[in-house]
Amino acid sequence: MGIKIYLEKCYGCKVCVPSCPFGLIEIVDKKAVIKDGCNLCGACVSTCKFKAIEIIRDVKVTIDKSLYKGVWIFAEQRNGQLANVAKELLGEGRKLADELGEPLVAVLLGHNIESEAKQLVAYGADQVFVADAPQLEHFLEDSYTQVLVDLVQKERPNIILMGATAIGRSLAPKVAARLETGLTADCTGLDVDVAEKNLLQTRPAFGGNLMATILCPNHRPQMATVRPKVFKPLEPDLGRKATITKVDLSKTQWEIRAKILEIVNEVGHSVNLEEANIIVSGGRGLCDPKNFELVRELADTLGAAVGASRAAVDSGWIPYAHQVGQTGKTVGPKVYIACGIRGAIQHLAGMQSSDIIVAINKDPDAPIFKLATYGIVGDVLEILPMLTKEFKKALG
C-alpha cells in the first residue's frame, strides 16, 4: 500500500513535478523522488507518460457489483414543494441511466406529496418510490436516513445522487457512513465508465483552484451530492408514463432523536440567491455602504437578488446571508453582475457556473474580466445609475 515509483520506467522528465499540489516531488539523479508528507492524492499518477508512478492499494472487493442497478435521485422537497435541484438531477440522471442502460428512479420522502411524484415522472423518472408518513413531513436526519437505507438495502441501486443543499449535505454523509460506501461532495460534472459501471465524479477542490475526478470503484451504491444550478432539467413531458410505487413503512422502526420546534422562513423579504435568475453583486469597489443602494436599485429594476463579496460583508456593508463564494453561497443564475468585485478565486468558486457574467470594474486587469462574458471598465458609482436608467428605458 502506498505510492511507488518504478525506477526502471522513470526517465527524470520532470513532468510530474509541478503536478503535485503539495510540491513534494523532486528529481534526484534523474529519478523522481517523493518527499515525506505525501497524502496519496494521486495527482501525479496520470501525468506520467511512462506509467512510472502507481498508487498501490490492497483491494479487497467484497461485493458483487452486478447486483446493483439503477440510477437513483433523491427528490428533495421542502414544505411539500419539490426543490428545483430534484428536476436538475433527473435531467442529468437521465443521461447517465441511458448510457448505462439502467432505469432512472426518483425517491420522494414526505407527507401528502402524491402530486409531486407525478412531476418527477414528467421530468424523466422511469420509476418513483414514494415514502409517505407524518414522520417524514419535514426533513430530519434520523427518519430520512432510516427510510432511505432500508430502501437501498432492499433495491440495491448502482448510483445515488442528491442535491448539495443544506438537506442533501447533511443526509448524504449519514447514509453513506451507514452503508459504508463512498460519497463525493458537491460535484459539478458527472459521467460514466460504461464497462465498469463506474460514475466519474468531477468536483472543485482547494477553493476552486483545482478540479478532481473521483471514482468509487469497489463499493456500491456510488453516492454523490451535486451542486444546484449546474445541470439543466429536461422539458417536462406530462404524457410520460412511469410506475409510482408506495414504500411500505409498516415495519419501519422510527427512532427520531431530534425534534423541530419551529421553522422560520426568512426568504419572504429577500430573493433567494440560490434560486435567482439574475444576481447583482457588490464588492469593496463600492467604497461605502451607502453605495449598496445603487446595487439594490439595479437589482429592483431587473427583479434580481442582491449578492456581495466577502470583503463587502466583512466591512459590515451587508449581512452574511448575501455573501457569494467559497465561504458563502454557491449560485448559478442566468446573469451575474459583479460590481466592484476583483474576482478572487474564493469569490469565483461561488459564481463561475453562472451562464452570463457581467463585470464592472475600474481596473482592466482585475481577474474577474477573465471570466466575464461582458465587461465594462469604469467607475461603478458612475456606471450603476446609468445602467439602471438604461434598463428601465429598455424594459419599459
Binding site: P18, L40, I167, A177, T184, L215, I376
Partner: protein, 262 residues
C-alpha cells in the same frame, strides 16, 4: 460537560495561485493554517464551557507537524489538544477520516458534545462531521448558527437552510457543525499563550486508538482520485470600450436585445 472539537490543518487557499504560463500551481510560501471554520467551533466550545463548565478537547488528524499548530487553540482557551497521526492514515477519504476520528473520540470517552466546522477549505466536503456522528451512533445537526440552550443531556439550537432557519432540539451526546455566523473567534490571551507554550500534545497512533487497518487510509477509502487538473477559465468574453454611456448602451443591448433580460 466534555466537548471535543475537530480541527483540521489546511493549506491557506487564498495563497494558492496559478502560474498562467505553465498552468501549474504556485505553491511557494503557501502557509498551513487551521481551517477557518474550525475556529468558530473552538470558540463556541469555549463559550459553552464558560457558561456551564466542563472541558474542551481539540482533536485533529494529520501529519506530526500539526501538533505545534494545535497549540493556537490552547492559547484561545481549549484545555487539551490531541493529534491522531500515523502513516497508516495517509490517503484517507472522508469515510476513513471519520473512522479514525470516531475511534479517537471513543478513546477520549464520555463525550457530551462534538463540534466540527461546517467544512474544511481544502476539500470543502462538509462530510466528516455527519460521518463521525453516524460511526459513533450519536445524532447530528449541521449548519448551526446559534445555540439557544445547552445542558449535558440536551441542546436547543438554530440551524440554517436555504429558506431561513429551524429551531431544533436534540438529545446529547450529539454532534453539531457550525457556520461563521455563530460567533466571532477570540484572540489568544496572554495567559493562554503562556499555557500553550508549556502544553504537551499527545500523538496517538492507529494502534493507540485501536483502529482496524482495513478501515484506515487508502485501504479504508472507497473513493479514489482518478485525476486532478486545473480548471480551464472560460474563453475571454467581450470587454466594451469607449465612454461610460456607450459601454452601458452596449451592455443593455446585449442583454435586452438578446432577450436574456426581459
Amino acid at each position: 460537560m466534555k466537548i471535543v472539537v475537530c480541527v483540521k490543518q489546511v493549506p491557506d487557499t487564498t495563497e494558492v495561485k496559478i502560474n498562467p504560463e505553465t498552468n501549474t500551481l504556485i505553491r511557494e510560501g503557501v502557509a498551513s493554517i487551521l481551517n477557518p471554520f474550525d475556529m468558530y467551533a473552538v470558540e463556541e466550545a469555549i463559550r459553552i464551557k464558560e457558561k456551564v463548565g466542563g472541558t474542551v478537547i481539540v482533536l485533529s488528524m494529520g501529519p506530526p507537524q500539526v501538533a505545534e499548530q494545535l497549540k493556537e487553540t490552547i492559547a484561545m482557551g481549549a484545555d487539551e489538544a490531541i493529534l491522531v497521526s500515523d502513516r497508516a492514515f495517509a490517503g484517507s477519504d472522508t469515510l476513513a477520516t471519520s473512522y479514525a476520528l470516531s475511534k479517537a473520540i471513543e478513546k477520549i470517552a464520555d463525550v457530551n458534545l462534538v463540534i466540527c466546522g461546517k467544512q474544511a477549505i481544502d476539500g470543502d466536503t462538509a462530510q466528516v462531521g455527519p460521518e463521525i456522528a453516524e460511526k459513533i451512533g450519536i445524532p447530528h445537526l449541521t449548519y448551526v448558527k446559534k445555540i439557544e440552550a445547552i445542558s449535558e443531556t440536551e441542546i436547543t439550537l438554530e440551524r440554517m437552510n436555504e429558506d431561513g432557519y429551524e429551531r431544533v432540539q436534540m438529545p446529547l451526546p450529539g454532534l453539531i457543525t457550525v457556520v461563521k455566523e455563530i460567533n466571532e473567534p477570540r484572540l489568544p490571551s496572554l495567559k493562554g499563550m503562556m499555557r500553550s507554550k508549556k502544553a504537551e500534545i499527545p500523538i496517538w497512533s492507529a494502534a493507540d486508538i485501536d483502529a482496524d487497518p482495513a478501515k484506515c487510509g487508502l485501504n479504508g477509502s472507497p473513493t479514489w482520485v482518478k485525476r486532478i487538473f486545473i480548471p480551464e477559465i472560460k474563453c475571454q468574453g467581450e470587454i466594451f470600450s469607449g465612454e461610460p454611456e456607450e459601454q452601458v448602451k452596449f451592455l443593455v443591448n446585449a442583454l435586452v436585445g438578446r432577450k436574456i433580460v426581459v
